[in-house]
């Protein structure tokens, strides 16, 4: 039982890490008032560029760095349309997803199915890894888990809720006109946080192919970007809750793995549906059960609204 639990949590931590990164990046973008529906495409680009890089440089660090940069460039392209040109954010996001998915498949064509030879290996943190159940999952897998689950969310939380910069940032998402009047550079703020969010989506993709599923295949991101978007809504745009819910979500994914490994009498296709069904339940059930949830977990007031200084 304990071994089953340990194994499940270990898978959950890996699967959830991918979602946590992408969702945390999206929290940044949405807090400044921009919905980036391109996460799925940026993750695919990050995943494929990490694989391609590793084939020539044989270092997962270089792979991850390239994935981050590719994600950032993709985020900038999206931000150019959605923030600088102030075009419809839904359309720019979908277009980014299409471009990302299409380009990644075309680029990865020659690399599909080949196992990645340099991935992030096991790193065991002494003492902490000896804690039963939690230890092996969090402190004995790869080196990125602690940054993903602890350092990054804590940093984002601190900056967003404990600094003046974070206050400015949230002001841009709630009321850009007021923020602008107070001298906050609305456009720059939106552009750079969307870019940062894109970089994190690219990193999530790279993390996916460098740890969890070390092989590129078409469609391997399989809706993780969309699940990350749903998690952001579920977590009410809060960095720590979003990370925790990504872990919870990793558990749902792990459940389908355990089911397949233990030959549960359910077809794998149905087990594979679990993450999507789970996400649906995640964003529908809480709002139905507890109506005040909608106000407590409300989206930034100016979400998805382009800001025009000159409209009077």
């Amino acid at each position: 039982m304990i071994t089953l639990l340990t194994g499940m949590l270990a898978t959950a931590v890996l699967a959830g890490g991918v979602l946590a990164l992408a969702a945390l990046g999206e929290v940044l973008a949405e807090r400044v008032g921009v919905t980036n529906l391109g996460v799925e495409g940026l993750m695919a680009l990050g995943a494929v560029s990490a694989v391609i890089t590793v084939f020539s440089f044989h270092s997962p660090w270089v792979g991850l760095l390239v994935a981050i940069m590719v994600g950032a460039v993709g985020g900038m392209v999206f931000a150019f349309g959605a923030v600088v040109m102030r075009a419809n954010q839904v359309l720019c996001g979908l277009a980014t997803t299409f471009m990302g998915l299409g380009l990644s498949t075309a680029l990865g064509h020659n690399y599909a199915g080949q196992p990645v030879d340099a991935t992030f290996g096991h790193v065991t943190i002494p003492l902490l890894s000896a804690i039963p159940v939690i230890g092996p999952a969090f402190f004995a897998q790869n080196i990125l888990i602690v940054p993903i689950y602890v350092l990054l969310p804590a940093l984002v939380h601190f900056v967003m809720f404990r600094t003046r910069h974070g206050l400015n940032m949230r002001a841009v998402g709630e009321n850009p006109a007021a923020a602008d009047a107070a001298g906050i550079p609305v456009m720059a703020m939106r552009f750079w946080y969307v870019t940062l969010g894109g970089a994190m989506a690219g990193m999530a993709g790279g993390y996916l192919t460098l740890t969890y599923v070390p092989v590129w295949s078409e469609g391997m991101v399989a809706g993780r970007g969309w699940i990350a978007l749903a998690l952001v809504i579920f977590a009410g745009y809060r960095p720590i809750i979003v990370t925790l819910s990504a872990l919870l979500f990793g558990l749902v994914t792990a459940l389908s793995f355990v089911g397949q490994a233990h030959n549960w009498p359910i077809d794998p296709a149905f087990l594979n549906m679990l993450p999507y069904l789970g996400t649906m339940a995640f964003i529908i059930v809480p709002v139905v059960v507890w109506h005040r949830m909608r106000r407590v977990m409300a989206a930034p007031a100016a979400l998805a609204q382009p800001y025009y200084r000159d409209v009077r």
Partner: protein
């Protein structure tokens, strides 16, 4: 202080939008040509080949019509949903649901085409509607974002199709992979391989345009989309209208799936939706909320898909088409926004300049 040279208009003039869209498409094609040239293909030769094999040959034109048929319906599905201000990103899933339901009827009911085809049609529509039911109710009663719920169901529909075509419904006769056996009935063909679903789809789109522009229901939908608060104040049951529009949208996408099963593919196949659902979004965007515009928009999209076949013969992956579509969509989104801006005449800014001097 620099004076503003442009003014943003609340609604963009149609002529300016058309012009900027042309610019957007030409710019996209230019970028694509540059990328192709850099990767060692000759864009001019490719363009000639594409035009020749899509518009210049009978097979090309037949394929064009076959691509247009599902795009008309999925485009219309996204368009009607957009009329009330909602995004149905799940046409892909509803397409599969319609295809699954129709195939179920075709495999289960034995009879003449005259009895089976209508049953399949109903099953396709109901299947699509059933697939959008949960997002619809969640949107109407709990305000849950329909973009994500409709989209997530696409993955579930695709997995369900995979399960059926490799499990209970797998082809036991010819042993084709991820496919059911060929169904016994099919929509009759009217011109080469083009089946009657194509003209029916066009009639449906025109009918929808009339319903939306000429009936009270259509009027209420449009008001609900333009200004939900005003609509509620005027006593329009917005919630009920949302439910009816979303179900209609799902039904249209489901019908597209049924047409594809019964007219083109003749079986249920994994991956048969061929991104038609997602491309329906592009068609709807191109159509700018007007059902009649769905026809030329679907034609353009079908042309792009048709040229994808040519590109595949030139060692270019089919996924390039998705990237190209994305680029065009991106450019058009920007173009549509730029169409809102009108350059101000030289004389107007003087007033503002004088005003700023005073303050």
């Amino acid at each position: 202080m620099a004076t503003r040279a442009f003014q943003r208009l609340p609604t963009a003039p149609a002529g300016r939008i058309l012009m900027l869209r042309l610019v957007a498409i030409i710019l996209s094609l230019f970028i694509i040509a540059c990328v192709l040239a850099l990767s060692g293909h000759s864009p001019l030769m490719l363009a000639e080949l594409i035009i020749h094999s899509t518009l210049g040959s009978r097979f090309g034109l037949e394929d064009l019509a076959l691509f247009m048929c599902p795009l008309l319906l999925t485009g219309a599905a996204v368009t009607v949903c957009g009329t009330i201000g909602l995004w149905n990103i799940g046409a892909e899933g509803q397409f599969y649901a319609g295809a699954i339901a129709a195939t179920g009827v075709a495999l289960g009911v034995h009879g003449s085409a005259l009895t089976v085809l209508p049953l399949m049609t109903i099953a396709g529509i109901v299947g699509g509607m059933a697939w959008i039911t949960v997002p619809t109710l969640a949107r109407a009663y709990a305000g849950v974002n329909e973009i994500i719920t409709t989209l997530l169901l696409n993955f579930i529909a695709s997995l369900l199709t995979y399960y059926l075509t490799t499990g209970p419904w797998r082809d036991r006769i010819s042993g084709a992979q991820v496919s059911t056996q060929r169904i016994s009935v099919s929509i009759p063909e009217m011109w080469g391989i083009v089946h009657w679903g194509f003209p029916v789809a066009i009639v449906i789109v025109i009918g929808l345009a009339l319903v939306l522009s000429r009936t009270r229901w259509g009027y209420e939908i449009r008001i609900g989309g333009a200004n939900p608060e005003a609509a509620r104040y005027a006593g329009i049951p917005v919630r009920l209208r949302i439910i009816s529009v979303m179900l209609l949208s799902g039904g249209l996408a489901g019908l597209a799936g049924m047409f594809e099963v019964a007219g083109t593919v003749h079986r249920l196949q994994g991956g048969m939706a061929n991104n038609f659902g997602y491309l329906g979004i592009v068609v709807a965007v191109l159509a700018r909320g007007s059902c009649l515009n769905v026809i030329p928009a679907a034609l353009l999209m079908a042309l792009i898909l048709d040229s994808g076949i040519v590109m595949q013969t030139q060692q270019l992956s089919a996924s390039v088409i998705l990237a190209i579509t994305g680029l065009i969509l991106f450019m058009i989104a920007i173009g549509d926004e730029l169409a809102h801006y009108r350059p101000l005449a030289r004389t107007t800014p003087q007033g503002t300049a004088a005003g700023s001097k005073v303050s």
